[in-house]
Subunit: 200 residues, 2 copies
Amino acid sequence: MTHKLDFYFDFSSPYGYLASTRVGQLAEKYDAEVVWHPFLLGAVFKLTNTVPLIDQLLKSDYFLRDVPRTARRYGVPFKLPDRFPFGTVTSCRAFYFVAETDPVGAVRLAQALFHAAFGEGRDVCPVEAVAAIAEEAGFDGQALAAGIQSQPVKELLKAEVDEAIRRKVFGSPFFFADGEPFWGDDRIDQIDQWFATGGW
Amino acid sequence: MTHKLDFYFDFSSPYGYLASTRVGQLAEKYDAEVVWHPFLLGAVFKLTNTVPLIDQLLKSDYFLRDVPRTARRYGVPFKLPDRFPFGTVTSCRAFYFVAETDPVGAVRLAQALFHAAFGEGRDVCPVEAVAAIAEEAGFDGQALAAGIQSQPVKELLKAEVDEAIRRKVFGSPFFFADGEPFWGDDRIDQIDQWFATGGW
């Protein structure tokens, strides 16, 4: 691997979803290692006293237009779930539970969860929903539903959230491309160029 | 003119400055009419209870890195003025004072003000500073300093701010490309594609 891309995102972030459909191509193009870091953006918002885009006056209309428009541009499906924003503790823990033994599988699970939430507009909040999506993606849903209650998994997530705050990750998606911070799905073009040129 | 681009910006917005260096090329490429709309983002922030990026915890470090990085990418000069963010009532009024009789000249003045503020890091807040920059750009600074006190000019600016809020312009830069809203300097690529394809 010649490059490393840290990919921070919240499972409830539509722009995180959009980015998740594109990081794979970037990784292939530059033989980059992508490390997926689901975290809880709500913990950061509490710190920064920010509210989700959808709750912000004036911004929400734009947001509801920009996300589907950008999805159409990329040619990826988009459907906003009825419950939005939604809690993502379960999805995050499911990711870290799988990642402990199968990091590649964890990425596949994250993609399945993102696709269910924003490609199909499904409710991915309850444990049963996350377990069902995991089953569809080839995982043992029952083992997963039990595993995400374990203390080590809870602590893995907590450590990731703390680390995200330490690295000043204030939004989703947020990237470190060979250590250089980039915020937003719309910075992927710059990351591409950063890898291509070594920075400027 | 086959296309119309409304370009809303605050003179204190570095991303507005970055965009101002690029809208001309876009206009040429598509024979688009660009209408420059300086307004007071502070009035919107008061409404939305938002604080400038620089004042936001966690975000400010990123912002101070992203803006110069993007400027280098575009090959445009960037220097953050010591006083930032700064009041822009005078710059806005100067724009509308000139625009009343010379719309093309007003754009030239806006470019000169943006360049002084963010290309050279000069203080463009006081009337004397705005008048001096206007002089350098070939305008009568004394006439301008007097003219911006006139009631019609004040009302022109107020009407633009009201119109910006009515159109839900919540940030800077903000565009309407043939009526379609786009937020952010980083949406210029999408605007380019929007004009090229007629939308998607």
